[in-house]
Amino acid sequence: MLNLSLPKVAASTDELFAGVHQFVQAESVDDDTAFQLTVAAEELFTNLVKYSRRSNRPAEIQFSREGEWIEMRITDFDADEFDITTAELPDLEVPITERRAGGMGLHLVRSFADTLSYSHEQGNNVIIFRKKMERPNVHDSA
C-alpha cells in the first residue's frame, strides 16, 4: 500500500509519477496495468489541479493491491460535487479539426477501469479506480 498527500498543483505530478512507479515496482504490477494505472492517476489528478479550487487542502491518493486487483482511491477534501462516472464525454466522432484534448482524459480513465466509483462524503469527493491485473507476473503467483 502507498499513501500520497499531494498539493493540487501541476508540480505535484512528478511526485505522483514517482509514487505510482514505486507502487507498481513493489507490488510486481505487470507493464500493461502499470501503464494504464499511471495514465489514470495523471488524468484524475490533473482534473483536480485544473478544476477543484474550492479548497487548498492536499488531495490524498492511496494505492493498494488485493490479489489480482489494483485499487487507486483519490480523496479531494472540501470539494464541489463532480461525478466523473456520469460526466459528459467529448464527441470522439467529430472531425479532428474540432477535436480538443479536454475530456479525453476522462474517456481514457473510464476505458481502463474495470470498476470506477464516485461518492460525495461529508463534503469530500472520493473516486475509486479498480483494475484487475491483465498479466500477473509469473514469479508473483508462485
Binding site: A10, T13, D31, E42, T97, R99, A101, M104, S111
Partner: protein, 94 residues
C-alpha cells in the same frame, strides 16, 4: 524526462514521457516545423491525453498550412491510447 531530437531526413524523434508537464514544451517545439512532418515515436515511453492534444494541435496547424503529419513506430501502449481516443483513423500512424 522528455526530449525532441531532430534526425536526418527531417524526421523528429520524441523520447521519454509526453505528459501534462511536457505537452506545452512539445507544442512549442513542434510549432516551428512546417510542410510534411514525420515524428518517430519509437522512443516515447508514455503518453496521456495532454500528449494526444499535442498531436491534434500539430496536425491541425500543419493541415491548415497545406502540410501533413505522419507518426511512426509507436509502442503497443502508445498505439492503444491513440486507438481508444479514436485518433488512429484520423492521424496517419505507421
Amino acid at each position: 524526462m522528455f526530449t525532441i531530437q531532430h534526425e536526418s531526413g527531417g524526421t523528429v524523434k520524441l523520447v521519454g514521457r509526453l505528459d501534462t508537464n511536457q505537452a506545452p514544451q512539445a507544442i512549442q517545439a513542434l510549432g516551428g516545423m512546417n510542410g510534411a512532418v514525420t515524428i518517430d515515436l519509437s522512443g516515447l515511453d508514455y503518453i496521456s491525453s495532454a500528449g494526444l492534444g499535442v498531436f491534434i494541435v500539430t496536425h491541425n496547424r500543419l493541415r491548415a498550412a497545406g502540410g501533413s503529419l505522419q507518426l511512426v513506430n509507436p509502442s503497443n501502449h502508445i498505439r492503444h491510447i491513440f486507438h481508444l481516443a479514436r485518433l488512429e483513423q484520423v492521424l496517419t500512424i505507421k
